[in-house]
């Protein structure tokens, strides 16, 4: 074929066609190529055509082209090509070698095909498929949780309800849309709602798991106790993708607990009453015997001194017996006092943080019932103290119970209770702070006296026992009104058994 015919043919082809020399320089570019790129044949010839390739793609394109030239194989590569109006569009660059009769590469020829629209369409399709997959996935998820024999919910990162399984819908008799308003539509018992909302809100805001108990309304309107546990699901970057929530009905357990706690309270009361009865009987008997002697002796003495039957020796002996009996009564009282003030201590090293945590664990459900929001601030590396663990826990328990009691009628502010430990010089300090009714300045001094109580139902024994316990540990106990907000803070400080530095070293 003559050159003119080949050129006409190449120009007529519906594509961007080119021919290059074996070293890669362009020898010929058809009209469509020049029209499309807006480059003249002179501008494009040689290596000039490169200027139409997107600068970002140019280097990788050249590397590929060099490799292709060396390999002498046909190939394809994708790159953006600048249109005459300056817009870059994606093209597929296809190239193939043309060999002469002796088998050497004489030329390279190629065609550039625009794939912009096809790719865009493909991408759109992919995007649609992806979103379909997401939908299908959530569908699968819902179906999967439907099959679980428990109450499962899935929440968005912000805590809003995204999906719940069939069991929740059946139990509550509410649709997913209705359940989204659980905070306002009476799904949770109004008494439990503030505490629930607080714990839940904190968990979502801080991205930490939560565990709580509340009463959930059944379809027939009856509220039953549930345990609720929520954990966040995170992606590889640590962002929360969703929350999984598991609800477990604990109505029976709760009833048993209530039974148990009532029984325990009754037992404690009986124990207290019977202890007091026992003590009273013992004291009464111990004091009453010499008292009987004293009364009878005194009467006898009077009879002996009566003028008609005067018996001075008898009266003297009787008076002496009276004195002996009085001494005996006074010894009884002294013995009692000694018994109560010098109780033997069981000494061991006590980690106060641990001891306090145990107390809090024991009183957790009691605190929740009182809608008390608990905060802890335990000092790390706190040295241990020497003493009676159970007695110290009794004191902490007493503080916590008093704090909760003091907030029983508080409704205009959070019933917050914070317990903290700190190292204060040679002493370890534990304090319990409440937002309760506080203490009147005039009663501050009497708080730790036996049988003094500001509570209507109090025995007035707890704090006085606490004081004797702390004193027997060589410590101090005190109470102050909070100066920045309502409520009071009860504290005790006891000497720690080793210098903090040594203790920390041994811990490390």
């Amino acid at each position: 074929m003559e050159i003119g015919l080949i050129t006409s043919l190449a120009d007529a082809l519906p594509g961007l066609v080119w021919v290059a020399l074996p070293d890669g320089r362009a020898e010929f570019l058809n009209r469509r190529w020049c029209d499309y790129t807006g480059l003249s044949p002179q501008e494009a010839s040689g290596m000039g055509w490169q200027s139409a390739v997107h600068p970002d793609d140019r280097l990788s394109w050249l590397e590929y082209w060099d490799g292709l030239l060396a390999s002498r194989n046909p190939g394809e590569v994708e790159a953006r090509l600048r249109r005459h109006d300056g817009q870059y569009r994606r093209f597929l660059f296809s190239a193939a070698p043309i060999a002469n009769a002796s088998g050497e590469i004489a030329r390279w020829c190629g065609i550039n095909t625009e794939i912009e629209e096809k790719l865009a369409a493909q991408e759109e399709l992919y995007a649609r498929i992806r979103s379909d997959e997401t939908l299908r996935e959530s569908d699968i998820r819902t179906r999967a949780i439907d099959g679980i024999p428990g109450f499962i919910g899935i929440l968005a990162p912000d805590g809003s309800v995204e999906a719940v399984n069939r069991r929740i819908k059946e139990y509550t008799g509410q649709s997913l849309e209705e359940l989204k308003n659980w905070g306002t539509n009476g799904t949770i018992h109004e008494v439990d709602l503030p505490h629930t909302a607080e714990v839940f809100g904190q968990s979502i805001a801080l991205g930490i798991p939560h565990a709580m108990e509340f009463r959930l309304r059944r379809h027939d309107g009856e509220y039953r106790w549930f345990d609720d546990r929520g954990v966040p699901m995170r992606d590889d970057n640590g962002n929360i993708v969703c929350w999984y929530v598991l609800l477990t009905e604990i109505e029976i357990r709760k009833r048993n607990e209530a039974e148990l706690s009532r029984a325990r309270a009754e037992l404690a009361h009986v124990a207290r009453v019977s202890t007091i009865n026992m003590l009273t009987a013992a004291i009464a008997h111990e004091v009453n015997q010499p008292l009987t002697g004293i009364v009878t002796n005194a009467n006898t003495c009077l009879r002996m001194l009566a003028s008609d039957r005067l018996d001075l020796d008898g009266a003297r002996a009787t008076a002496q017996r009276t004195l002996r009996d009085a001494d005996r009564a006074s010894a009884v009282v002294q013995r009692l006092r000694a018994m109560f003030t010098h109780k033997e201590l069981t000494t061991e090293t006590v980690a106060l943080n641990e001891a306090a945590r145990e107390v809090l664990a024991l009183s957790a459900s009691e605190l929740q019932r009182g809608r008390v929001v608990l905060q802890t601030d335990f000092a790390s590396g706190l040295p241990p103290v020497v003493g009676d663990r159970v007695q110290l826990q009794q004191v902490i328990m007493n503080f916590v119970v008093n704090a909760a009691d003091a907030m029983r009628d508080v409704d205009d502010r959070p019933r917050s209770l914070s317990i903290a430990t700190t190292l204060d010089g040679p002493e370890v300090l534990l304090s319990v702070r409440d937002a309760g009714i506080g203490i009147a300045p005039e009663s501050a001094g009497k708080l730790f006296e036996a049988f003094y109580s500001t509570k209507g139902h109090g025995m007035g024994v707890g704090l006085s026992v606490s004081r004797s316990i702390i004193q027997s540990h060589g410590g101090r106990i005190w109470a102050v009104a909070n100066d920045d907000c309502p409520g009071s803070t009860f504290s005790f400080a006891i000497p720690c058994c080793s210098p903090p530095a040594a203790s920390q070293a041994s811990e490390g």
């Binding site: 009453n288 015997q289 004293i294 009878t296 006898t300 009879r303 002996m304 009996d325």
Partner: protein, 209 residues
């Protein structure tokens, strides 16, 4: 009954109570014997003069109530005055049911105690007299011949001489003779006396038989 021939026993393990009681009662001119335990009291030979027992409810080992049960059967002539530290209702009820004369709470009023003692001694005297009388009655009954006892047993049950004769296979005249001797030996002035004696000796008729 003279005070010199009576005796007051005290059983209380508490020295203050025991000694003060002893002094009070002795000053009233009564004989007193005090013991620390129920066991020590039981070891002493039984007195045959009127008396009473002042007993602490809560004694170690053998308690006051146990002691009461122990002596109730054979010492009806010794009324018991209980002392207790505090109003123990179940003990009081048990003691009173078992025939306690008094139940006093320590410390007690000396006048109340002394009145209770005097009252108890008087009751003891009466009981002793009755005991002595019954003992004499039994001796007289034992002194009867076998035939006389048979006749007495039947007549106090209300049988006629003729019926007694029929039962024993003897004549009515013989029955009358035996009956006269029985009245004489038993020191019965009238037939009614004899029936009463029969009642006390427990050979008397039960009204229904």
């Amino acid at each position: 009954m003279s005070q010199q021939t009576s005796i007051v026993f005290i059983v209380d393990d508490d020295i203050s109570v025991r000694e003060s009681l002893e002094a009070l009662i002795r000053h009233e001119g009564l004989n007193v014997e005090a013991f620390e335990s129920a066991e020590a009291f039981l070891a002493r030979p039984r007195p045959v003069i009127p008396g009473c027992l002042i007993l602490d409810v809560f004694l170690p080992q053998l308690s006051g109530l146990d002691l009461q049960q122990h002596i109730a059967a054979d010492r009806t002539s010794m009324p018991i005055i209980f002392l207790t530290g505090h109003g123990d209702v179940p003990s009081t009820v048990r003691a009173m049911k078992a025939g306690a004369a008094e139940f006093l709470t320590k410390p007690f009023d000396d006048e109340v105690l002394l009145a209770a003692i005097r009252n108890a001694i008087a009751r003891s005297g009466v009981a002793l007299d009755e005991e002595a009388e019954l003992r004499a009655l039994r001796e007289r009954f034992v002194s009867l011949s076998r035939r006389e006892r048979e006749v007495m047993t039947l007549v106090v049950r209300g049988l006629l001489n003729k019926q007694v004769g029929g039962k024993l296979g003897i004549t009515e005249i013989t029955v009358k003779a035996h009956r006269g001797r029985v009245m004489e030996k038993m020191h019965a002035k009238t037939f009614a006396d004899l029936v009463n004696m029969g009642l006390r000796l427990s050979i008397a008729p039960d009204a229904r038989t």
